[in-house]
Structure formats: structure tokens, C-alpha cells
């Protein structure tokens, strides 16, 4: 079995199994937990509604924090949007998703995918540079750096595979799939789970603040 067969066979399968089982495990494990009832009188009759609204309103920082957080907010948006285009826009990824789900849609030209991949990688580098140069702001743990690594590797190997940089194409493709497998397998257990948690954490914070009459 070649490295490519190994990567797109048992490795990616195991990674997807870990990811799906892990996501459901963590979501259920947290969401089924109950919180103690808050017996205080709510100061805002529409607290719950305002709390849910927070999920969207916190998509951009409040004006008080804008100056301090503009750089990483913009970079994070650039990274997420460019990565989204790469993940769902280029044909090899659509083919992979179609193999899993049966769903398919028209793909983008390779040039667009490569441009977005480079933008995503550049923004990711910009974000890690800020983290490295401002340790007092971030108080980073190894989990932060590892999460960055597992996100950066699929981008690096994907761009290398497309450009045929370094080893032979099928080796680079295998490395790209292995990098994606690492991403999938690590997804439920690190900070990448923010893809799900951000909805619940924002809503929970919003509901709690609204109940106490905090302007949100």
C-alpha cells in the first residue's frame, strides 16, 4: 500500500471517525449538563432574546475594543473566509466531500483557489506573529500553537501539492491528506471546537448579561 493509499484509506477514515464521534461526544457531554436555576428577578424582560442576539452582535468587537482588537479581528475574518473558499470551492475538495456525502456543486478555477490559499496562509502567519510578539496579551498555551500547526499544515501541503514543490505529486497529496486527517482527529479536543462552541458561549454570556441588565 502506497502512502497515498494509506492516507486516503484507513488514515482519513479513522480521522473522520474520531472527529464525528468526538464532536458528538463533546457537544452532548456539555449540552446535556444542566445549570442551577437563577432565582433572581430578571432585569430585562427580553433577556433571552437579547442573549441570542449576542451570537451575531459579537461577530464584530464593540467600539470600545475596536482599536485594540481590529488587527486580529480583520486577520481572523480574512483567514476564515479565504479558508472557506478553499475548503468548499476547489474541485478536489468538492470531490472528497462528494465521496463522503454525495453532495456536489460547481468548483472554482484553480487560480482562485490558489490565491485564496495563499491569502489564508498569509493571514495565519500574521496571526501567529502577533501571538508570538505579544505574549502578555495572549498567555498562550501549547494547545494554541498546536491548533495553529494543524490548521497551517493542510494549507502548506495543499499549496505545495498544487505547485508540485518538493516531492512527487502523489507524495505531496498524501501528506496533504495526512495533514487534513490530523486536523480532523484533533478538531474535537482542542480549540478548534470553537467552530461549535462560539454559538453556545456567546448565547450563554448574552443571556447571563441581559438578565443582569448589562447593555449588550
Amino acid at each position: 500500500m502506497t502512502l497515498l493509499d494509506y492516507a486516503r484509506g484507513p488514515v482519513i477514515q479513522a480521522a473522520l471517525v474520531i472527529m464525528i464521534a468526538g464532536i458528538i461526544w463533546r457537544l452532548l457531554g456539555v449540552l446535556v449538563l444542566t445549570r442551577a436555576a437563577d432565582l433572581s428577578r430578571p432585569r430585562d424582560a427580553f433577556g433571552n432574546f437579547k442573549g441570542y442576539r449576542t451570537v451575531f452582535s459579537r461577530a464584530w468587537p464593540s467600539s470600545e475594543f475596536l482599536t485594540a482588537t481590529r488587527y486580529q479581528t480583520v486577520m481572523a475574518y480574512v483567514f476564515h473566509l479565504a479558508t472557506l473558499v478553499v475548503v468548499i470551492g476547489i474541485v478536489p475538495h468538492i470531490e472528497f466531500i462528494q465521496g463522503l456525502t454525495g453532495a456536489s456543486w460547481p468548483g472554482l478555477p484553480n487560480g482562485v483557489g490558489v490565491a485564496c490559499g495563499i491569502i489564508a496562509l498569509a493571514s495565519l502567519v500574521a496571526l501567529i506573529m502577533r501571538r508570538l510578539t505579544k505574549p502578555a496579551v495572549y498567555c498562550s498555551t501549547w494547545g494554541d500553537y498546536f491548533a495553529w500547526f494543524v490548521v497551517a499544515m493542510p494549507l502548506v501541503t495543499g499549496l505545495m501539492a498544487f505547485a508540485h514543490l518538493g516531492p512527487r505529486y502523489e507524495t505531496l497529496l498524501a501528506l496533504h491528506i495526512l495533514a487534513a486527517a490530523l486536523f480532523f482527529a484533533w478538531f474535537p479536543f482542542g480549540k478548534l471546537m470553537h467552530a461549535f462552541w462560539f454559538v453556545f458561549s456567546r448565547a450563554q454570556s448574552g443571556i447571563a448579561y441581559a438578565r443582569k441588565g448589562v447593555q449588550i
Partner: protein
Amino acid sequence: MSKEISLGGFLRSQGISRRAFLGFCSTLASAMTIPSGMIEVMAKTLEQTRRPAVIWLSFQECTGCTESLLRSHAPSIESLIFDFISLDYHHTLQAASGSAAERAREETMHRHAGEYLVLVDGSVPKIRHYSTIAGVSNLDMLVETAAGAAAILAVGTCSAYGGLPKANPNPTQALSIGEIIKDKPIVNIPGCPPIPLAITGVIAYYLTMGSLPPLDHLGRPLAFFGENIHDRCYRRPFYDRGLFAESFDDEGARKGWCLYKLGCKAPETYNACAHVKWNQGTSFPIQSGHGCIGCSEPDFWDRGGIYTSTPQGRFDSELSLTLAASLGVVVGAGAAVLARRKKHRVEQELADEASAPESQTST
């Protein structure tokens, strides 16, 4: 078997002009990345070359490799070179049969010990009685014949890597030549069938240079298997522009767009199909409208379906992912139940601790 005639004399006797022969040498030198300054030397050496003795062994095969070389549209210099070699033993082509045929092989082995080339097509069954020739198993015949060979050319994917006979579940326990013979130089010329120029090219290189050509990590001559078909494919611009045939009869297929989505294995297949082509450069599978099936790669029969595209996973996604989701539900529900129990236990302990001082106070 004459050893007097030279290749130059033989080609002239077949009506091949020196200009045409030099043209062939230029093509071959170009294909095999031999420096242009060597063309004249190559032509001179080839012209003066005496007939090399060759034993062609056919084991678990379909004869497609031989047909590929022989059934050209018109006689080519490649096929004439093939005619030129002293093919002392070949099941399909030799006139002799039975013990006379086997005697020819043994005579060649004896007379040209250490000098003859062995060309093999077909894989070798490890279970000896599954394939025999004149009562001799393929395995024993290969080992016996290879012992005195100067070099071995494994022609076709079956002999190079096991091919179709080795496909899962491999009922004959088929082996490639390289898995059996370890002490002789082996050149793999895979393909189902291989490109004729790759076969004669390696023979011509050997006759000219006196050595085997540079090989890749799978034992294939780099000159013919150094680049993947995707990079050389004339449909590559459509791939880059995101234009694909979605089925074999849609507009994309009619317009000649990329066949990547239809399972074309060109991105992971190394062969000269896209630039050398077949039938004197007329066409190759992708040009005729079907994706590459990756026939020059090891185990290509077992690397997913012919119509499964390169990036698609090779596993049963529906079953495994459903099981994964079920596992997640069970583990997640279990974790939640345990956490709630712990929470209630802690609440109870705190309540007990809170009530204990009151009871002590009251007494």
C-alpha cells in the same frame, strides 16, 4: 540464429533509409534524455550491433504486451528492432512447440550464458501448479532462466508489479519478477500494455550504452516514466480553469474538457502516454475520451474504482461515519450522565455539610 547480421544491415534490408534511422535515433535519444551529441554515436553503435539473444517468458498474462509491440498500424523501426533481436523463445511467436521449444530456451541459456536478456510478461504464481509450461512451474522456469541472464526486462504491469493476477484476493498468490529475482538487474516497463517505444527504447539503450537506463524508485526507466500524465496532458488547461466533464456524454465530454471528475488517474500515474502516445503518436486513452486508469502503477486494480476520482476517500464512508456518530452519542450521553451524577453528589455533600453544623448547634 545468426550472429553475423548487424542492426544497420538488417534495417537496410527492410528498406529503412539511413535518414529514417537517424530520425529514429534522435527520437529515442530525446525520449531517453540522452545528450544530442550522442545521437551519432548511438546510431553508429546500433548500426554495428550484433543480434542480442533474448528469451521471452510469458507467465500469467493476456499476451496484450506482445500484441502491443507487434500489432502496430504500420511496420515501425521499433517493431523492426524487435524483429532484429534473436528472440529464441516466445510462446506466441515461435514456430517450434513442445520439447523442441524448450530445447531452444535451454540452448540459448547455455550458449549465451551471462549475456542474454530475459523479457518477462505476466506475473508468477507462488502456488506452483497454477501455471506450468511443459510441466515446469513458472516460478522454477523464471529462477532457472534468470540465473544466466545479463538483465531482466519485466514487460507489462503483471510482471513488473503483479498486475491483474495479483489483484485482491490474489488467488494464485501472484508475485512480480522483482519479488522473486533479487540478484539481477531488473527494469520494470509497466503498462497494460506498455508503450512499444518504452520496450524497444530500453533495449536500444542497453545495446547502445551497454548498461540499463536510469530508473525511478519503482524500477521504471525515468525517460518514459519520469513525469505524470496529468502534467503532460493536453486537457490540463481545462483542469486549471475548472472545466470538467461530469459524464461521458455531457457537453464537457463533447468539448474535450478534463476527465478528472470521471476518475482519471493521470495525476497519480507516471507514463509517457500523453506525449509518446500510441499507434505512431495517433492518440492515447484520455484523447479518446476515457480517463487514465493508472495501469502503469503498482496494484492499480485495488486502488479504488476506475471511476473514483483521485481525491476521494477509499473506504465505506456511510457505514463507518454512522458508527462513529453512534459511538459519539453513546460516549457523550455516558459522559453527561456521569457528570450529572457527580454534580448531584457534590450538591448532596454540600447540603449535608451545611445541615451538619445546624444539627450540632441544636443539640
